[in-house]
Symmetry: C2
DNA sequence: GCGGTTCAGTGAACCGTTTCAGTGAATCGC
DNA sequence: GCGATTCACTGAAACGGTTCACTGAACCGC
């Protein structure tokens, strides 16, 4: 076990400057003391290589400067992109993200959310697996929470960037319908034990309206696992897919290739999310596009404001676009 | 600002059980006290909804249970996959990862590495941007460090999973050479201010040996940015590319498509890393494959052992495979 | 010249654990 | 039956900051 090098403490800086620790603490944060003292303390601190211990500071002040980021499932490439985007945008605001992955599991989401709260993150961004969980109301009581995707039922969030999934689903299903598809396999992400999400419910409603025959299957977002699910769906005779994440659609591409089936002539695929790679496939994946940069910007703006104590709550609704590329026959 | 709900402290549990805080602390960790007391304390803790405050614990004990994960650049899809894989594997070991992104910047890498140390992570996994930085030796003095990719020069690491980049580069260049390519654009990841990495140096050496004419260009790994670099390289007349990351190669696919150039007949692309998406492109990306699952497993095993105080140092060298798919003409 | 402010800084409590040195009682070997 | 161990537990000091209540001096208007 390596020996932690002994670091300078605030008391040593105090001794070196002839001030009290309290004065040093104030000086380093540039409050309550004279300009001259601030300068003197800064110099001494630099000399001693002093830097405030974030743990001790967090214990005493209850703040860490960190923002928690609780992702629904990082197997999904789009969610990966979202997480990376948010982490980078936070960095530009001199904050940094504590990224956690609920892996599509509501129980895990619950544990991790509490862990983040206990870690004293100043605020939390969450892309909920189970937006209806009572957890969120509880959590909003003790720290600012910004949700991405779905609204958190009954919770006093600090901000929301909700996706108009109803519009997204309608866009997708109507497009498939226009192209003459009546029987669809719907591949949606796994969420064991979660009540049906608004988006899923809306899929069924829209299918009824449009007279579609749906076969709903849950699929993990990892390429290998999604390919597996797609394989079975193909073998069951399905030839038209509505995938509730581009990552899942990639599995349909892979499985179709294995079976020697061509897209879009033999197999139709519709994605959801628009990951950058979707435009690179042959044919490109027709999908529902959300403005990921806009989402990142909005969420980060909200969460930073909330962490800074701003209590104005904002709610932004993202509208989807149909990005037609050629995977729908 | 939401009001943090007052949580039970260890003192209240002590009061409730008629024990000292110290005894409770021991009991909850199941050491130094009788079975009966442990049971009593557990019950009381559950009743009061007590859970130890991780921050206070970290301050007192110097340990957090967290593993730091410092990534080279999370713009790279392969590195994203690596990070997610490591995070998930750590979870299976009841530890969790604090993921940070150096964004290809050595200065940022330095800051973040120190921040992780100050955050008292029990150990650190790093995929170094600048493996030659003196930083690493300093860091290894105060906590166990496991490196992935390159060896950390002069640092007493707790473990290393090094990629045999020399072999990988040779594999790639010889393949290109066999197919008759003599003039290559080498697209390597940006690393401002970093001395040339061993792999880069080896590229030049091998090129000399094989009689290749190289044009080395640095490229960011985001699709948009890589596409931009590829565009310029195409316009400069390049038709054969060795990309030092599959993510960069995707940019060449995108730029070629824009220009109406076909792969592999008009343009040759060789990748490096083998991201799952590479097999899905048309044609599939010929690339150098590292066993990502093996890397994840090895790194996690090492880091967990090190965090648990095991001082045996291990060094694993990963051998590359050429994954031929059709993007080399 | 006097009450009232402001300013710069102090001292001590506090945040919630862990851990070290002890302590009294029970148990052990012989 | 007695010194030496072990056992179960206690008290208090860390850990390294922040913050609250306060103080003495300088300055203000009048």
């Amino acid at each position: 076990m390596p020996q932690p090098r002994k670091r300078a403490t605030i008391r040593e800086v105090a001794k070196a400057t002839g001030l009290s620790p309290a004065a040093v603490s104030y000086a380093l944060r540039g409050i309550q003391v004279s300009e001259e003292t601030i300068e003197r303390v800064r110099r001494a601190a630099a000399e001693l290589g002093y830097e405030a211990d974030p743990i001790a500071r967090a214990l005493a002040s209850g703040r860490t400067g960190m923002i928690g980021l609780l992702c629904g499932s990082l197997e999904d490439l789009w969610q990966q992109a979202l997480a990376v985007g948010i982490a980078r945008a936070l960095k530009d605001n001199d904050r940094y993200a504590l990224i956690l992955d609920a892996a599509g599991d509501p129980a895990r989401e619950k544990t991790l959310a509490r862990q983040l709260r206990d870690q004293r993150v100043d605020a939390l961004i969450v892309q909920p697996v189970d937006p209806a969980a009572p957890l969120w109301a509880e959590l909003c009581e003790s720290l600012p929470v910004v949700s991405i995707g779905d609204s958190l039922a009954g919770a006093r969030t600090a901000g929301e960037v909700v996706f108009d999934n109803r519009a997204g689903v309608t866009l997708a299903l109507e497009h498939l319908c226009r192209r003459g598809h009546r029987r669809l396999a719907v591949l949606t992400s796994t969420r064991a034990g979660t009540p049906d999400r608004p988006a899923d419910v809306h899929v069924l409603a829209e299918a009824g309206r449009l007279g579609l025959d749906l076969d709903v299957v849950t699929a993990p977002q990892s390429l290998a696992a999604a390919t597996d699910v797609a394989r079975r769906a193909l073998d069951a005779g399905h030839r038209a897919f509505f995938c509730f994440a581009d990552s899942i659609a990639y599995g349909v591409y892979a499985a179709s290739a294995e079976r020697g089936l061509r897209i879009p002539s033999d197999v139709t695929v519709m994605g959801y999310d628009d990951h950058p790679m979707s435009g690179l496939l042959t044919p490109g994946l027709t999908t529902v596009d959300w403005d990921i940069d806009g989402i990142v910007r909005a969420a980060v703006r909200m969460v930073v404001a909330a962490a800074d104590g701003n209590t104005r709550r904002r709610r932004i609704v993202q509208a989807p676009d149909l990005r037609e590329r050629g995977s729908v026959g």
